[in-house]
Each structure stands twice: as structure tokens, then as C-alpha cells.
């Protein structure tokens, strides 16, 4: 006791370690050059008609006014939101169920289950894209084989708006469900046992306990996963790109599954319109910000009940 007090006063007396700046310098320098500066500079480029090998002309807000009148932009917004919604809602519900099933101290092979559900997460996104593009193929895909064996019509997954979104969402969902389940599981395991014991005494059944104790207690984890999947979902790129095969960055013949990052890439590195691509980047940034805030508020309210 006296020892800690002595140490504490000693620490108070000790002067600042200015050498701390040397420790944090590498992070701040590299991050400043390759992270922070480009984000700010994007705003500057967005105000220009900027051709990387040609001229750079100041155009004011023209790129932004063009953006809001560009049907390709709104199409990409719709696709991005649709894919995000179709992938996130079932993904988080499955993750909750999975975590609840794993959250039992007497479960056998617990480590095996946890590792297995994480396999999709360590599979590269390109691999996921290629595997599922094959599964959702029109001619010889496994999905159509299953549809047919259940007596249903085979689908041209790629050509439809909704069917292509479902296929792409399946990839996202497959990759992330296990990861989210582990986050929920960690949160569930840190819930104090007494809460459940009190509920047992009150005679609450499993489902009541789940909705009135578990869900409110893991609220921070739920908010975390919702925000992470929002930020990721708004930037979804590789899955729709691979799903499109050779159609490159347009996301299908009618742009039926072109997402915002694909449009950004198409304009920036397909057509070298750096100014317009930068405007798309900023729009995407604002969208992510708004959606994150809205989700945060909704999630808070829902899981509080």
C-alpha cells in the first residue's frame, strides 16, 4: 500500500517523456501521408476537371451537380443499399442464433465449432467470389441444380436485379456471419451469471431470458457489428466485381449490380475522370457517415427494450 503510494507520488514528479513523440512519429507520419492527406486532397480534386495525364481545370461544384443528376450514381446507391440490407440483416440474425448456440459451457467440441465458422473469414474475398460465382452460375451452377431438383425453374442469377443482389449478398453473408457470431459470443460470455439466476428464480423461460437479458446486455457488441458491417457494406467491391466476370466495372450489362465503389473505380481508373471519381468518393463518405449514425440510433433503441 505505502509502496504504491510512494510510486504514485514519484510518477507525479517525473517529468514528461518527450521521447514519446518519437514512438508515435512513424504512425503519424505514414498515416498522415498515405491516409489523412489523401482524404482531404480528394475534396480539392473533386472541385476540378482532373485528367491525370492532361489538364486540371477548376470547375467548382460542377462534379457534384453532375453527380446528383447522374442516374448511374443513384443506380449504384440503390444497388449498394440493397446488397447491404440483404446481406446484413440475415447475417446478424444468424450470428446471434449461432452465438446463443455456442454460449454454453458444457458444449462439446466448442473450439472446433468456433474455428469452423471462422473458415469463411480467412478465405480470400476473391476465392469467395469465384466459388459463389460458380455456384450461382446459369448453366452448371449448384444453386440452379438445387432449384431444379426441388421442381423449381432455374434462374439467370446474374441478369436480374434482385437475384444478382441475393447472390452477392450470400457471399458477404457467408464471409462475415461466423466473425460476428464470435463477437456476440464474447459479449455473451461476459454477462454476469447472477442476472440469469435471478430470472430463473422468477421462472423466466429461455426465450424471455434471451430477449430481456442477453440482447440488452450485448448491446455494445451489436452496435459495433452493425457499424462495422455498414462501413464494409457501403464499400462492397470485390464480390460484385468477380460476380460480373468479364463485364469489368459496370456490374452487369445493365449495371444491375454496380456498387458505389465499382462506379468510383470505373470513373477513376477506367475513364480517368479523377475529379468526378473524387466527388463520388466524398458522396460515399457522407453516405457512410449518415447511415452509421442512423444505424447507431436505431440499434440503440431496438436493443434497449
Amino acid at each position: 500500500m505505502t509502496q504504491t503510494r510512494a510510486l504514485r507520488t514519484k510518477r507525479k514528479k517525473s517529468r514528461n517523456d518527450l521521447s514519446g513523440y518519437f514512438y508515435i512519429a512513424p504512425f503519424f507520419i505514414v498515416f498522415g501521408v498515405f491516409g489523412a492527406f489523401p482524404i482531404v486532397y480528394t475534396a480539392w480534386i473533386a472541385l476540378h476537371d482532373w485528367n491525370p495525364i492532361g489538364t486540371q481545370t477548376w470547375v467548382g461544384l460542377d462534379n457534384f451537380t453532375f453527380l446528383v443528376s447522374d442516374p448511374r450514381f443513384w443506380n449504384a446507391v440503390r444497388n449498394t443499399f440493397s446488397i447491404w440490407f440483404i446481406s446484413t440483416v440475415p447475417q446478424l440474425l444468424f450470428a446471434l442464433i449461432l452465438a446463443a448456440a455456442l454460449n454454453n459451457a458444457l458444449l462439446k467440441w466448442a473450439t472446433g465449432y468456433r474455428m469452423s465458422i471462422l473458415v469463411p473469414q480467412v478465405t480470400s474475398v476473391l476465392a469467395v467470389g469465384i466459388i459463389f460465382t460458380q455456384i450461382f452460375g446459369r448453366e452448371f451452377g449448384l444453386a440452379n441444380y438445387l432449384l431444379e431438383s426441388f421442381g423449381m425453374e432455374r434462374l439467370d442469377w446474374q441478369s436480374g436485379v434482385l437475384s444478382s443482389h441475393v447472390a452477392i449478398s450470400t457471399m458477404v453473408m457467408w464471409r462475415w456471419t461466423g466473425y460476428n457470431a464470435l463477437i456476440y459470443l464474447a459479449a455473451m460470455q461476459s454477462i454476469p451469471r447472477d442476472l440469469y439466476e435471478v430470472a430463473d428464480i422468477d421462472g423466466a423461460n429461455t426465450f424471455r431470458k434471451f430477449f430481456h437479458i442477453t440482447i440488452p446486455q450485448i448491446r455494445p457488441a451489436i452496435i459495433f457489428t452493425v457499424i462495422i458491417s455498414t462501413i464494409g457494406g457501403m464499400q462492397v467491391f470485390a464480390e460484385p466485381l468477380i460476380f460480373g466476370g468479364n463485364s469489368n466495372f459496370t456490374g452487369g450489362s445493365d449495371r444491375q449490380f454496380q456498387t458505389l465503389t465499382m462506379l468510383l473505380y470505373e470513373q477513376g481508373f477506367g475513364r480517368f475522370k479523377f475529379g468526378y471519381a473524387s466527388a463520388i468518393a466524398w458522396a460515399l463518405f457522407v453516405i457512410i457517415l449518415i447511415v452509421s449514425i442512423v444505424n447507431y440510433m436505431i440499434t440503440r433503441r431496438i436493443s434497449r427494450e
Partner: protein, 296 residues
């Protein structure tokens, strides 16, 4: 009391013998069924990749589809190496992912140590800044990043991937927590009393204590770098600079007729290194994700 009971009952044998009251019962059969379904769903596409990748290209048309691996994996592998320089791509990915993993651990440890254990003006403000940047999608700066990389002459150069990748806000956050929880202030004070310099205290006293979380960070960084696609696709246009992911895209793109057999073989090859890491370190990775969840 309950915690003690739970601890002991975690051993499988004692669990069976224990009388079953409602709060200490093992999961019922439908929980196992449910989990088995989830596991199958997680593993199957992976297995499917091996199946298709080891059949010859025409087998993909079979009805019903083949469900067991075929004999052609080796021939297909040779074909993959014929079409693109896949060996070079594997080597490039290895170089990039290893450099990023080592750099991230080193620089994150340095910054994390300073934020956890040193005192200097504006420390808290700077740390709040680090946390805030974790929320910013850095992809959005991709246009100026590309301009910058061109100015540096790093297009088609692995440095374009490595240098921006060696620091992350997440890494700093992670290592700060590690030092904060793992290294008691007393240990550092004692080292100072013994006359060790700051950097020596960091390197020989504090860093060895946080070996485990550093390793987990390194694994995360490696896997993330291995799987990165958006940025490499932008800055790498020449075969000899391709990473595995870009090479995969090339294989998918160059065929006139979609040849899923070859694509899947290449996918298997691209995934093997990650699979090895996962088999060896899977437990730590799972632990890392679950720990990270509690910190966040």
C-alpha cells in the same frame, strides 16, 4: 460459487456425471444439429472449391454435379502456372504480407507503448484522433493515393502496397490495450530505477510481455494484406508485380470461355497459405477476435 461449478463442469467427463439442474444443463440435441448445419454451410463452399479445382474442365457440366475431388488437381495446377506467373504472384504476396505484418507489429507496438506508458503533452488528444480514424474508410482517398504513388514512381512496385500498409489505427489501439493490461507500471518503474533507458525498457522489458497479442496482430495484418484486392488492383498492372489476388482476377478475366476448373484450382492455390496459418494458429485467431470484441 457458480463460476467454480462452471469451471469444473467444463471438463467433458465431469459434465456427464453431474445431476442436471436447469441452469447447468448441457446443450440439447437440436443445438448440436443447428451447429452442425452452420459448420457444414461454412465448410462446404470451401470443399466445393477443392472438388471443382481437381476435376477437369468438362466435369463441371455433369448432372448431378461431382461431389468428390477428382484426379486432375496436379494437371490443373500446371495449367495455372502456364497461364500466369503464379509462382511470382505467390512470392509477391508473401513479401508484401510478411513485410506489412512485421512493420505493423513494430510501429503499432512503439506507438501503443507510448500511449499506454509514457507521458507527454497532447497524448490523450492524439489518441482520440487515432481512434477516430478507425472509423474513416480510407479507401475514399484512393485517387490522391494513386497520384502520390505515381509521383513516387511506385506503380507496379510492391512498395506501393507495403509502405501505406505498415501502420494502422487498429494496430496502435490493439497494442495500447496490450501494454495497458499486460505490463504493470511497477515493472517499468523498476526498470527505470535500474537505470534502463526508455527505449531499452520498451524493447527488453515491456515488449516480451506482450508477445502473444503482438503475434495475433501480426496474423491479422498478414491475412488482411494477403486478401487485399482493391488497392493492389489499382497500382499493379504488370504481371511481375501481381499479388495472388490480382493474378486470380487475371485468370478469371483472360479466358474467352469461363473455365471454372482452372479458376478454382488457382483459388485453392491462393488459399493454401492462409489455410496453413489457420490450421496452426486458428485458436489464437479465434481468441484474438473474441478478446478484441471485449476491448472495443
Amino acid at each position: 460459487m457458480t463460476t467454480i461449478l462452471r469451471r469444473t463442469s467444463e471438463e467433458p467427463d465431469s459434465g456427464k456425471a453431474r445431476p442436471r439442474s436447469s441452469s447447468r444443463r448441457g446443450p440439447s440435441w437440436w443445438v448440436y444439429l443447428l451447429l452442425t448445419l452452420f459448420v457444414l454451410a461454412s465448410i462446404f463452399p470451401f470443399y466445393w472449391m477443392f472438388v471443382v479445382g481437381s476435376q477437369d474442365s468438362s466435369a463441371i457440366n455433369d448432372v448431378p454435379p461431382a461431389m468428390v475431388p477428382g484426379p486432375n488437381f496436379w494437371d490443373q495446377t500446371l495449367e495455372v502456372f502456364n497461364r500466369v506467373d503464379f509462382g511470382r504472384a505467390l512470392l509477391n504476396s508473401m513479401i508484401v504480407a510478411t513485410s506489412i505484418a512485421m512493420g505493423q507489429v513494430l510501429f503499432s507496438a512503439l506507438a501503443g507503448y507510448a500511449f499506454a506508458k509514457l507521458r507527454f503533452p497532447l497524448k490523450n488528444t492524439l489518441f482520440v484522433f487515432v481512434i477516430a480514424t478507425m472509423m474513416v474508410p480510407l479507401q475514399l482517398g484512393v485517387i490522391p493515393q494513386f497520384i502520390l504513388i505515381s509521383e513516387l514512381g511506385w506503380v507496379n512496385d510492391l512498395r506501393a502496397l507495403i509502405v501505406p500498409g505498415i501502420v494502422t489505427a487498429f494496430g496502435v489501439f490493439w497494442m495500447r490495450q496490450a501494454f495497458d493490461q499486460g505490463v504493470p507500471d511497477e515493472l517499468i518503474q523498476a526498470a527505470k530505477v535500474d537505470g534502463a533507458s526508455n527505449i531499452r525498457t520498451f524493447w527488453s522489458i515491456a515488449l516480451p510481455v506482450v508477445r502473444a497479442p503482438s503475434a495475433v496482430l501480426g496474423l491479422f495484418a498478414f491475412m488482411f494484406a494477403w486478401n487485399d484486392f482493391f488497392w493492389p488492383l489499382i497500382v499493379l498492372n504488370k504481371q511481375d508485380s501481381f499479388t495472388v489476388q490480382v493474378a486470380l482476377r487475371q485468370i478469371q478475366n483472360q479466358a474467352y470461355v469461363t473455365d471454372f476448373g482452372i479458376q478454382m484450382t488457382a483459388t485453392v492455390l491462393a488459399t493454401i497459405p492462409l489455410l496453413v496459418i489457420f490450421v496452426v494458429f486458428g485458436k489464437q485467431i479465434v481468441g484474438g477476435i473474441m478478446e478484441g470484441a471485449l476491448k472495443g
